[in-house]
Amino acid sequence: MIMQFNEETFREDYTFHNSDWAINRFPFPFHEDSYMYAVNMEQHRGGPEGSIYEKRFDVDEHYVAEMKDRAMVLSDDPLRCQSLPHMTLAGWDLLELIMVSKSEDYPDLFELHRNGDKWHWINKPLGIEDHFTFLDETTLPYGPMEYITRQTQGDFCVLDQRDDNLWMDAGIVTTQADWSLDFDIGMNFFEWHAPVPLAHEKGIFVRALKFLLNIQQGAPARRLNWTMTVNPLLDTSPENYHKWGVQKTEITPENIGRKQYLRVELQTFFRLPRSNGLVFPIRCYLIAFEDLVKIPKWGRRLHRVIRDLPVELATYKGFIDNRPMMLDYLSEFDDGEPTSDGIWPDRHLE
């Protein structure tokens, strides 16, 4: 497949857009007509051809534009990428995992040539070619985690595993759903999840952590998470909330279809071989309401999910004020017909 990369922006004039291909493969996160937090994890062993699950690190039409946006965020605020001193080895593990996966999964786009510890990396879409020595930081322009994640869509948390817990000791976070790496770095699994409502009481985090601690090398796992964002703004950070928060008030019945986005995160979990750390890529997919409702099942179901979502979740996810307007819009696409099980579309755009 020859991939076309969109020329688009995730800020100011917001020219971001999804092709029909991207809409058809959008990771719609609701497998039934209601939603509640659950330990929703499964093995990450590929998926249907062309789906976002197929490859270990999905590359799509937004790749080049997303990497430009990340570079801008980092230039404005270098604290979005941090690594505590003991995490460098895990950074090399991550660099290896991504370079090997991408060069195997997308040989037309990425090449990795290894001769002992002399590595040669070619990234065609971004026009990058580097020779470096594996495990020698002085031979790369950035630390290993930052180097490779400036070339990979999605945020990355690199977790140290000790004392039967996971510690957020490194990461690059520029496309987050309103949480701060700079604040959370060094925290453990329960501490960084502290603000989440209801899930602690349901025992979800205790069970989720147990699952994560047992993830083995070569047997990654995945889950979907979701929220709402006004405008296709990747950097919904707390750092910049005083700038973007006001955009939530700019929704009107006339513009909601094109300005309101469902934001879905494909979260994956990989064990890292040398450091025994865990890496947690959080890949963000955005879809405008007006595109989402082109799939009749999705329009019907999203209406029902948003309508019945507990207030605590709508508040935490930051759209409680706009929920009535969302429901007015979405109800037009809910004819009351039953929906089929599972997340997959009931019809494809041609």
Partner: protein, 202 residues
């Protein structure tokens, strides 16, 4: 000597206990303001304890209310400093020279305990091995998530960031690495509409 009972909160928010004497050859007590009361309590619970103890104390607005009492406890070392900032290098030096098994006791405001805790954990003492007891003001040390500046002794919600001037609401989300709670812009979605400040826990 009344103690404030913090309501139950989220899991990143520190919880404080009551200091108890532990056995050991060396003890370090760091306190500010009414935190002195907890030290005096320890000396009553174990009369031999203080002769093996280094006290670092910052009166912080309590003047000499407690300093005389602390002097009478017979501590191996007693330092009374004008501010935490001034005392910090002494604390770091003490921790750097400490032997295994040093017992650490922190008491007073959350800001004092959080910062001293950070120094102790940086020196390799696990945070679970450090005792804490809250005394005195419920003021908080806050990080502005926007400009990253720290505002000390925040008593109201919302408050004005002492660095960038934004009006911030007070979260319970707490970072041990920063020894601070998180402050977030309160009028981002309705610029200029800042509700009246209320005293914390009032």
């Amino acid at each position: 000597m009344s103690k404030f009972n913090f309501p139950e909160s989220i899991m990143s928010r520190p919880v404080y206990g009551t200091l108890e004497p532990r056995s050991g050859k060396a003890h370090l007590m760091v306190a500010d303001a009414q935190g002195a009361e907890a030290i005096i309590g320890l000396s009553k619970a174990d009369s031999g304890l203080l002769s093996k103890t280094h006290i670092i104390y910052i009166p912080k607005g309590t003047g000499d209310t407690y300093t005389g009492k602390l002097e009478k406890l017979g501590a191996a070392q007693l330092y009374v400093g004008p501010s935490y900032e001034a005392a910090k290098t002494r604390l770091q030096r003490t921790l750097a020279g400490a032997h295994m098994g040093l017992q650490v006791y922190l008491s007073g405001t959350e800001g004092l305990m959080g910062q001293a805790m950070l120094e102790a954990t940086n020196a390799g003492i696990p945070h679970t091995a450090i005792q804490t007891e809250h005394r005195g003001s419920v003021a908080r040390r806050m990080q502005c998530v926007h400009c990253k500046g720290i505002t000390e002794d925040v008593m109201t919600d919302p408050f004005v960031c002492s660095h960038c001037g934004l009006s911030l609401f007070v979260r319970d989300h707490y970072s041990r690495r920063l020894a601070a709670f998180q402050g977030v812009c309160i009028d981002a979605e309705d610029p200029g509409n800042v509700p009246a400040s209320v005293e914390l826990y009032k």
